[in-house]
């Protein structure tokens, strides 16, 4: 008969408990702290709502037969897995209050991806200042985590009045395509769902991904109607070619460059074309199924269980006053499976704790400062002064080094 067990079961199955529940008196004393944090959380939630409602109302998008960026994300991402990032990030200090892209981590068809989507409520998804910095963060994440990057592209091109803040710079919007090439080279796939009109800067987004899927009304071209219509073969303008340009511009406005009949039927650049908005996202889901990802079974050392103590206590335990000391292991106890922690050398270097816990059944190493005062430490001070948490002494440094390298 086959016998199976979790990895190193005798070490990981049951580890020592840390932490303790908060007493009513402590909770009462810490209530002002929890209130102060709740107040800040409410401010952040209000700012998030502002970003979410930036641009034109959702009804206007619906009237055009489109879904909003949030509806697209909700359909694409597995329920309960969306972890938004950079929501309030606005390094260009834009009047829109955001960078006009919505990004985060989420699972698609059960596999993690970094996902970034243009907010089609904001100028039909424009390139605006600071967005390039946001995109750099996203491409970095995909690289570091070695998971696919998924775009929901709907980019009307640069906000013309601020183009000098968008195009230039080593880290500007052009860097996006270099980063895409780099990701492809190291084997991180980029999947792109394309909607709407994507001229000029928007068009470049389509060049570099690994797989392009489009909605039937989408178009994407490095030169949009304005640019293609404005080209003069003579290199100068006279009445005849101005007349010609007017006619050409009218044609391109009516029939934009880079439509499905070119990019699917002729160039073969689109892998799929879908009649519905959701169809494009279904295509992304299907391609995500083709990608490899580890099964958690491979690395889990125990079945996942929640912490023994309520993570809701964290607002009581972590002081809003940054000078205030607190019990850092009480915090760790609320982040780890069943609040079990295998501490490394607990009797050495008391100003630092190091050890292994389980998070969602996976083994995770923790290192932190233990706070408070240590009366007979460091031993070489001979009582001349007190050891204090937040500083590092010889034993703590040695312990940390041993823990991360041994």
């Amino acid at each position: 008969m086959a016998r199976k067990q979790m990895p190193l079961r005798s070490y990981f199955e049951k580890m020592p408990s840390i932490g303790r529940g908060l007493k009513d008196t402590e909770r009462r004393q810490l209530q002002p702290n929890a209130d102060a944090i709740a107040e800040q959380e409410a401010i952040i939630a209000a700012e998030e709502l502002k970003v979410r409602s930036a641009g034109i109302p959702a009804e206007k998008i619906h009237q055009k037969g489109q879904l909003t960026v949030y509806e697209r994300l909700e359909y694409l991402v597995d329920p309960g897995t969306w972890l938004p990032l950079h929501t309030l990030y606005n390094p260009g200090d834009n009047e829109e209050g955001c960078t006009a892209v919505v990004d985060g981590l989420g699972k698609i068809s059960g596999k993690w991806a970094v996902i970034i989507a243009f907010d089609n409520k904001i100028m039909a998804g424009a390139w605006i200042p600071g967005q390039a910095e946001n995109i750099l963060r996203v491409t970095d994440l995909a690289k570091r985590m070695n998971i696919p990057l998924v775009w929901i592209l709907n980019c009307s091109g640069v906000k013309l009045t601020e183009q000098e803040k968008v195009y230039p710079d080593r880290r500007g919007n052009g860097a996006t395509f270099f980063r895409h090439a780099e990701l492809n080279q190291i084997g991180v796939p980029i999947l792109n769902a394309i909607y709407g009109t994507n001229p000029a800067g928007g068009g470049y987004h389509g060049i570099s991904p690994t797989i392009l899927l489009a909605h039937k009304d989408a178009n994407i071209a490095v030169g949009g109607a304005g640019i293609v219509g404005g080209m003069s073969p003579k290199g100068h303008f006279d009445l005849e070619n101005v007349q010609h340009l007017i006619e050409a511009t009218k044609t391109f406005k009516g029939k934009a460059p880079g439509r499905v009949d070119i990019h699917f039927d002729e160039t073969g650049y689109f892998r799929e074309v879908h009649d519905t908005e959701k169809g494009v996202l279904d295509g992304i889901k299907d391609y995500m199924k083709c990608l490899p990802a580890y099964d958690p079974v491979f690395f889990r050392v125990a079945e996942p269980v929640p912490p023994k103590y309520d993570p809701g206590d964290l607002n009581y335990l972590v002081p809003s006053n940054p000078k205030r000391v607190y019990d850092s292991l009480q915090v760790v106890a609320r982040m780890i499976d069943n609040s079990e922690f295998m501490e490394y050398r607990p009797d050495y270097g008391p100003e630092v704790f190091a050890g292994i816990a389980k998070v969602d059944g996976f083994p995770v190493g923790f290192i932190g400062n233990r706070q408070g005062i240590f009366p007979n430490y460091p031993e070489y001070a001979g009582g001349a002064y007190l050891g204090v948490g937040g500083k590092l002494y010889r034993q703590g440094l040695i312990k940390m080094n041993e823990f991360v390298t041994l």
Binding site: T25, Q29, K323, R324, V325, I373, L386, V388, G389, G390
Partner: protein, 70 residues
């Protein structure tokens, strides 16, 4: 009767109890600022606060009597 002693030198930045208050082991009696950090000092015993021997902004030494708890 128990004397509560300062565990470390520092400046008293807040008194969390007053004379006559009932306290328990884990009740914060005062906040001491030292080395750029704020440390709570807990009652360490249960009873009522009979005397408070320090005031806000006072610099105290390790071992100074902070309060008497009865």
């Amino acid at each position: 009767m128990a004397e509560l002693l300062a565990p470390m030198p520092g400046k008293v930045v807040a008194l969390q109890v007053k004379v006559g208050d009932q306290v328990q082991n884990e009740t914060e009696v005062l906040i001491l600022e030292s080395l750029k950090m704020e440390f709570p000092v807990y009652a360490g015993s249960s009873g009522s606060v009979k005397e408070l021997k320090v005031a806000v902004n006072q610099e105290i030494e390790q071992g100074d009597v902070i309060a008497v708890i009865e």
